[in-house]
């Protein structure tokens, strides 16, 4: 009786959502990203982050890494629908909790302020492989690589220490050990 005038069924049960990292190997051709992204938007799936670049210039293969959330049923649909696309070669799916997979994001942080503020920021970034890419008397650009939530945390924390601009990538993923995904 939730909506008596609806022509459609309204679900009453909801299962739990989880975060998954979907990796898609595609032919690097015109419109392929639009196909993948359009599938997500058209079917109401969610994209948290997206990373894409060609990984094999000889075979023209691009690797797309998408972070998404959904119920197990939705995640299954995402994989199966992606596999139906003509330029898609293979699809891998990793849970964020998966210990056998490395997830990394990169961020560029621009900090403007005096010496002590900049030093504070560099100190805070210490555990995230900081690289100083540019330095002036009153500013610095720091590159860090970390997990999404860690970068989120740094982003918040450094605001008071002169962080004026953040640029970050989507997550990329790689399995641990000698195995590769087939």
């Amino acid at each position: 009786m939730s909506n008596p005038k609806s022509a459609y069924n309204i679900p009453t049960k909801k299962s739990k959502s989880g975060t998954h990292i979907i990796v898609v190997w595609v032919d690097n051709e015109a419109g392929v990203l639009a196909r993948v992204v359009g599938l997500f938007s058209g079917r109401g799936y969610n994209i948290e982050s997206l990373a894409v670049a060609e990984v094999d210039a000889m075979k023209n293969i691009s690797r797309i890494t998408i972070v998404t959330t959904g119920t197990p049923q939705v995640i299954d649909q995402i994989k199966l629908q992606l596999k139906k696309l003509v330029p898609v070669h293979k699809v891998a799916d990793f849970k964020r909790e998966d210990k056998n997979v490395i997830f990394k994001e990169m961020a560029l942080l621009k900090v403007v302020g005096n010496r002590s503020k900049i030093d504070k920021c560099l100190k805070a970034c210490k555990t995230f492989n900081p690289v100083i890419l540019d330095k002036t008397k009153k500013s610095v650009v720091i590159q860090i690589t970390a997990l999404r939530r860690e970068i989120d945390k740094m982003n918040k924390k450094l605001k008071s220490n002169g962080l004026v601009s953040t640029s970050r990538t989507g997550a990329i993923a790689m399995t641990r050990g000698s195995e590769i995904f087939k």
Binding site: M1, S2, N3, P4, K5, S6, A7, Y8, N9, I10, P11, T12, K13, A30, G31, A34, R35, G38, G42, Q73, D76, Q77, L80, Q81, K83, K84, L85, V86, H89
Partner: protein, 588 residues
């Protein structure tokens, strides 16, 4: 040095190599080189439609009734956008179409040139795949690939966008290579273990039902034969979706009618109470399942489908068999014959109690209606049409609405590919152009579009096409002056507020028919109905039949929105429900 061909010539070379006989199309600036080439290829006949949507639906009718892909040729810009509805329709109902569209020359793409639109962008979500051919070297490969994608796996529409300069450019033609491995998009790798599991489930079932869909039709006529053998072997009741009608004979005692929102009482109750549900080539569409949470709560579910993404999309199943329906059924039949000795009688005894229950439900006669001597009841009209045409091989198309459901309920199909209707997308205006396409594929057969007066006006211009090519299609209009299904929902759900669902100024369909140069017939009362139908059938050319029916008739039985299968509303014959129907909203 082999001969150089223009892009336009290569288009036809490809079509010839794909054994294309008919193209449905409409010329325009960006496809003129292809149209110029048409005269040199006598094996390919072009059917000039009156609107590109009509071309798409005609190609769908052609494809669905013949099993071959339909080919559409349109120009850039409006030509391409007009065909979008038909492509979406074909995508929803898995009909193989190859649409070739012209595009502005490559150097003008992106400049907002005259009749330019982002065709591949617009059609990306409504095709299986599409291509913009920017290099003449890619053209023949792309076209052959297009036919392959459209016709393999779960069929569907594809589009190839060819800029005008590519149509003029010259290159050598290479014949298509023999089937190379197709990027893993074909799925026919089910295992014998799965078949064994299916056979075990069948052997154990006490209250089974077989639920078939359009996948059986798409798998080819042999699949229907296999289905008949399989179902007779196991002795189970069988129901069908709208798209699957004809795969199993509609007048067979094992067939318990269509299921779903306007399905029969026995089919829907069987779905609800069964302990084994075997889905063959259907997709648990929301018009079928009703309320998901209470869908067939006590059953083991088996799903046979060629598209892995259909499995567990809506309903979780216990056994999934991914493969071509015919292959799976043949494997099952073989296993049953070998291991279970063909079931002989044992299986039928298992389900005899279940059949008794089904017969009880059947006694409700849920498709019944109160006939009248004064006005033509639409159900009666469809029944008469069926009785007067069942002795010949008849092809039926429909528009969308009440008349479509009545046609599905009361016209009994005994062969596949005889029933063309827009199920998934529900496209009003589908039936008339589809009938054009069907008649092209089967010039000597009887083709009838069971139509509503509102739907048929959406693509009425295609009568002109029918007249031009001498296609004797019969447009059987159940004219109730309302958008009937809209009116029915407003009656039941919106306190009889018939907002904009009445057609104030309908044309005189007889005069309209005459204006198009075909025959118009009108039937006003039940007494003259048979006579007039026979007059229509005897006429050699196209006919528009204006059948004036009771404007207040509703389509029953009906599962109201958000309700499970066992809570149907039955028609006015059923006293208990008659009381409720008066109160519209309280129902749902």
């Amino acid at each position: 040095m082999s001969k150089l061909y223009s892009g336009a010539e290569i288009v036809f070379k490809c079509l010839e190599d794909q054994d294309v006989e008919f193209i449905f199309g409409y010329p325009g600036g960006a496809v003129l080189p292809i149209y110029d080439e048409l005269k040199n290829h006598s094996s390919i006949k072009h059917i000039l439609v009156r609107h590109e949507q009509g071309a798409g639906h005609a190609a769908e009718g052609y494809a669905r009734s013949s099993g071959k892909p339909g080919v559409v040729l349109v120009t850039s810009g409006p030509g391409a956008t007009n065909v979008v509805t038909a492509l979406t329709d074909a995508y929803m109902d898995s009909v193989p179409l190859v649409c070739i569209s012209g595009q502005v020359p490559t150097h003008l793409i992106g400049t907002d040139a005259f009749q330019e639109c982002d065709t591949t962008g617009i059609t990306r979500p409504c095709t299986k795949h599409n291509w913009l051919v920017k290099d003449i070297k890619e053209l023949s490969k792309t076209l052959h690939e297009a036919f392959r994608v459209a016709t393999t796996g779960r069929p569907g529409p594809v589009l190839v966008d060819i800029p005008k300069d590519i149509q003029f450019a010259k290159i050598k033609y290479t014949k298509p290579k023999k089937e190379k491995k197709s990027n893993g998009k074909l799925h026919n790798n089910f295992s014998q273990d799965e078949i064994n599991e299916l056979v075990d489930l069948i052997a154990k079932a006490k209250k089974p039902v077989v639920y078939t869909g359009g996948g059986v039709i798409n798998s080819g006529p042999e699949a229907s034969d296999s289905l008949r053998e399989f179902v007779r072997m196991i002795g189970f009741p069988i129901t069908s979706t709208l798209q699957g009608l004809g795969a199993f004979p509609g007048d067979d005692s094992q067939f318990i009618g269509m299921l779903g929102m306007h399905g029969t009482y026995e089919a829907n109750n069987a779905m609800h109470d069964c302990d084994l549900l075997i889905n063959i080539g259907a997709r648990f569409d929301d018009r079928i399942t009703g309320k998901i949470d209470e869908f067939s709560p006590k059953s083991k579910k088996v799903h046979i489908d060629i598209d892995p993404s259909s499995i567990n999309k809506i309903i979780k199943v216990d056994l999934a068999i991914v493969g071509d329906v015919n292959e799976v059924l043949k494997a099952a039949i073989k296993t049953i014959s070998q291991k279970k000795n063909g079931f002989k009688n044992s299986n039928k005894q298992n389900v005899s109690k279940w059949w008794e229950k089904i017969e009880k439900w059947r006694e409700k006669d849920s498709l019944g209606f109160i006939n009248s001597k004064e006005t033509i009841k639409p159900q009666h009209a469809v029944q008469r049409l069926y009785e007067l045409t069942k002795n010949q091989d008849t092809f039926i198309t429909t528009e969308v609405g009440q008349h479509q459901m009545w046609a599905a309920q009361h016209y009994k199909f005994d062969k596949p590919n005889r029933w063309m209707t827009s199920g998934g997308l529900g496209t009003m205006g589908y039936g008339l152009p589809a009938a054009v396409g069907v008649q092209i594929a089967h010039p000597d057969k009887l083709v009838i579009d069971i139509a509503g007066e509102a739907s048929v006006l959406m693509t009425m211009q295609e009568m002109s096409t029918a007249v031009q090519y001498n296609l004797p299609i019969k447009i059987f209009v159940l004219n109730n002056k309302y958008m009937g299904m809209v009116r029915q929902w407003q009656e039941l759900l919106h306190e009889k507020n018939y907002s904009e669902s009445y057609s104030e100024a309908l044309p005189d369909f007889v005069k309209l028919a005459e204006a198009y140069g075909c025959k118009g017939i009108k039937a006003n009362n039940p007494d003259e109905l048979d006579l007039k139908i026979n007059e229509m059938l005897e006429h050699k050319g196209p006919v528009i039949f204006d059948c004036r029916v009771d404007p207040n008739e509703n389509c029953f039985p009906m599962i109201p929105s958000g309700k499970p299968h066992n809570q149907m509303i039955l028609g006015p014959n059923d006293k208990k429900d008659n009381k409720i129907t008066g109160k519209g909203k309280a129902l749902v």
